[in-house]
Symmetry: D2
Subunit: 346 residues, 4 copies
């Protein structure tokens, strides 16, 4: 079958033929239709320092997908060929404390598809049935293909109550923009965004932010605080920039007693004045990754079924799979929000 593979420790991917995966007893074989391209994929494409440490070529890449069940293992009862599905890409061991209490995303043996094991940028992929998610007919396939980052954003927003709270997104990339829309739908009083890139600031406004701030402008924090009730800061900050300045700023603009969710992944140590940032202000900080299994998936589904938000505007580009290079170039140039690679397009 055709698949997009990292073949060695250099930049780029290769669209090549790989063997069709075998279907174990508890596996579902999925004919991939649409996939989303994530910043992580771009890192692996570029073969940066993180990728060279974590990824072991040759490896089929990709973790955002939807497709059609082609075949099921003999112990699989709840899926059948023809089912439209997406799936959770964090594969836990299934037997530990974390896996048995809905926290498989932090299982100590977790493997992520397209990073630690074979991924979804292929014509077919197998996945253990417990990780497969049956799609309701109302969910558009393009949106189904990006449940993974949509779920990251949902998990981050829902990690604390945002109803009746002011919320700020640090970093208006794809997940930040999705989070803007979710936070608004989840009852935030207001959603603002802090983002150095002017095009992304405009997107944040287009996607629902009531105010945007440019962190490269001197004095932006004073302006930010002045706009909050009693000038004490914002109730909730969702940190999605992963940059050291972004993280430090998050703690400066959050109010005493406020909450910070950290999703963006900084490289290396970040120096924090913990006394001022967290302790004296009695701030609560939550580390976020992946998605709750499967509370987050149900939330993602229901926000869509009840028309609380529309993710289609965030899908800015679609390419047939063989044009994968163009997809990565669009992302490298910072032009796209969500880019879809599609096996069903010629």
């Amino acid at each position: 079958m055709p698949a997009l593979q990292k073949q060695g420790p250099t930049s780029g991917f290769t669209l090549t033929e790989v063997p069709l995966p075998t279907v174990a007893k508890s596996d579902v074989l999925i004919r991939i239709e649409k996939t989303g391209v994530c910043g992580t994929d771009v890192h692996i494409y570029q073969w940066d320092e993180w990728a060279s440490r974590r990824v072991h070529p040759p490896l089929v890449i990709g973790h955002e997908f939807m497709g059609i069940v082609e075949e099921v293992g003999e112990a699989v009862e709840n899926f059948k060929p023809g089912d439209r599905v997406s799936g959770e890409g964090h594969i836990g061991c299934g037997h530990c404390y974390f896996c048995r209490t809905g926290q498989g995303h932090i299982c100590r043996q977790v493997q992520i598809i397209g990073v630690d094991r074979s991924g979804c940028f292929a014509r077919f992929m197998t996945m253990q049935h417990g990780n497969v998610w049956k799609l309701k007919p109302e969910i558009p396939s393009d949106v189904a293909a990006i449940f993974d980052p949509y779920g990251n954003a949902m998990h981050t927003v829902m990690a604390q109550a945002v109803a009746g709270k002011s919320v700020t997104i640090m970093g208006a990339g794809a997940i930040g923009l999705i989070a803007c829309k979710i936070a608004e739908a989840a009852g935030a009083l207001s959603v603002s965004a802090v983002e150095p890139n002017p095009r992304k600031r405009q997107l944040a406004i287009d996607y629902g932010a009531s105010a945007v701030f440019d962190p490269t402008q001197a004095g932006w924090k004073d302006q930010f605080l002045a706009a909050t009730p009693e000038h004490v800061g914002v109730d909730v900050v969702l940190e999605m920039s992963g940059s050291a300045p972004g993280i430090r700023s998050a703690f400066e603009i959050v109010r005493p007693g406020g909450e910070v969710a950290l999703l963006g992944i900084p490289s290396g140590d970040v120096g924090l004045n913990l006394s001022e940032a967290i302790i004296f202000k009695a701030v609560t900080v939550r580390g976020i990754n992946g998605r709750l299994m499967f509370e987050t998936w149900y939330q993602c589904e229901r926000f869509l079924l009840d028309h609380k938000l529309d993710l289609m505007p965030l899908i800015t580009h679609r390419f047939p799979f063989h044009q994968y290079k163009e997809a990565f170039e669009v992302l490298e140039r910072g032009e796209g929000v969500k880019v879809i690679l599609d096996w069903t397009q010629a």
Copy 2:
């Protein structure tokens, strides 16, 4: 009246005469009986960098106390002369969001007695009636004098559920030792302590820790983790050392999905690998200071009334007030846990 005063920007205190404070309409005048000496007082005594930045002499020091109501302002209805009282030393503005929702300890105008305004190391002190706490007769005066650090420890322990959880205290100073006892009383499965000082490690064992670790020993973290279920780490870490290595270790020994409460106050920035420390592990971090007003005070009272813990063994030294120098020397030598300065002793 006599009072222990910081008279200028140098080390030491002076036992001197100061004017009796005037009693405003909403104030309670308290004849101080017993006071506790805090590490903060030692910093002010020594006039370290923090003290020289924060404290403006001349100032009467001290924030841990109990005493007897001497007189009340004309608008005070719930106290009368003769009442035995302690009091919350964080004086909020009384009118802001924080003050009106039980979070006066993080009021933006909060003033701490003995640090920002006149304190309790004096024969008399005034306090607005809303901050005064009437003592039940069952509470021993020595214990009543240390409700402030007891409340710090209670607030830290109760900031997350510890029932059915394993708990580790980083730093076995007075508050850490009190927290050991509270955590055990609050249903922790086990309480361990990490402390470099061998005498304090012994105290931790005496006061209920089931295991102690010496962070100066190579390999202690591996031993620590090996002793936790499935070797994933401890459920809850209460950081009370305020040291950068202690804080970094806290995040290495907490389990995925675990919780860290930060009470110890580091000076300067602390470098943290946030990706490993908090994000990938989905850790929750809570900054703690002061005491909830007044949920924490009720908890402190009830643990004592119901005999869930006994703080008397933690009070290692008692001095009449004029021997204050000996009290500070005991603390500077690291000999005492809680030291009481007493106006009622000759």
Copy 3:
């Protein structure tokens, strides 16, 4: 001064002259401008069984109000003549566990203005300063006059997370209709209403309900359940009818693991099959009354300041105070939602 008084144990009120209240040291004297008429006032007007048991004439009635500070007691520092204010009508003792932990509404000595002590249907009213609420200039006076029922609705909605949840209101009276709007603003996936009165069902639709059900129609519950995901029921029910059939239905339409908030006050015992209603379904039930002091007040303010909802459409009638009889007749005929009695209108 003129005041609307219950003069004896019979139906009706009398607009009469009463003495101006004296201003105690901690009191604020408020010149009342606008007041809201509550169903409770109608009960007292009609002198039903509840009223005759609870209310002791002669008494000035009324608990929903806004006005202008006329004078302050000598110990009051945070209000001054001319301030625009509303106020919390549950007057706690101020010193008990409940009062000191933000739960003054369930203080054992709580007195409600216009029910247990003199109320706001008068030209002037005194209130202890701790209960007075300063109004931001952006809050319209008509809306400020109904912070009491608005706060009931807010407290009920915010007693559990509704973001990402389906919500049903039992009983579309004034508070139920306000709750519809709040639930939607707080991120509910959908809000439906169950209400026998066709005019109120229409109002529910006008005020944001996505579906309404007539509980007098056979089979409505089956239709209701069929409209929920997997037909298991709704996530959250806000019971505001106070009727036995409404309460029983609430537990039949809530999903397993769902939540029911009880605000409506039934008279007499209600028979419940607790095994089916609560235990086997693992339902959580919360009793609600009053407003959190003062978390709820801040929430009410912020939803308005951030334009998350508009209560003006719910104010259907306004009368000058001397036309109070017409106000009560409108409510007795079930025509109005919120009716304002106004001292500033001639």
Copy 4:
């Protein structure tokens, strides 16, 4: 194989031969060693009204057990013959919202072993591997056999925070007595019990209750309230009597703002004055059944491994399986707390 079977709609059980169950792909075949006898089994034995409505003979009874894995289906990877196991007797569908979010105990298709499908009072039983629980070697087999009621008690106690709270158990049967011990271990300030049977009251004292009350004595509620702080009632009531008077009393003795967990199953409607019982007091009520899957199981394991409680004293009788009649007679006479039926005893 031998099994204890309900053979028809009359009282009694029959120890008879039944076919060995077949082992499906995802099943584990367990050689049962020890089983616990539950009040539910007694109801089925006696063939009361509930049993005749719910149970369809012929059926092998029993749901409390431990045993040894004899054989595993071909898709089972995490168990092997010889493993010592217990198991969760609520068998969910595995695919619905509840099953995928740790709430399989309230799955709409849940089947309970020994009630809805074949149970554990047999030499062998099959169970889908996801419900099987591997036992640590430190857990005694007798205790492993009663993880089901132990888990009921744990789930009830841990459904709300009890650390620093006063707790009362209504009904000191086996689960109530286990809950006494758990509540104490989980940090309750005090645990009291309300129980009409004098022998059970004595057991409650033996197992850790600090006070017991006889609800058949006039005035007991006044005495109860007088013993609580400020006479307002207890913080948490765990209702395990399932009797209408017990449930009504629970709401009379709980404090304003307190919490009631309902585990005991009343038959028929219970009349409650909801206004006084729940609404005005702002009480939170939680319906409890089964065990969280599998958070509760981990809690049960850890309390034992960390020696927080000892359940052995609660196991008052042990019989070889062929003496099952004596076991039921002991329970019918109200003599036993937990009674073990053992296949390994001759």
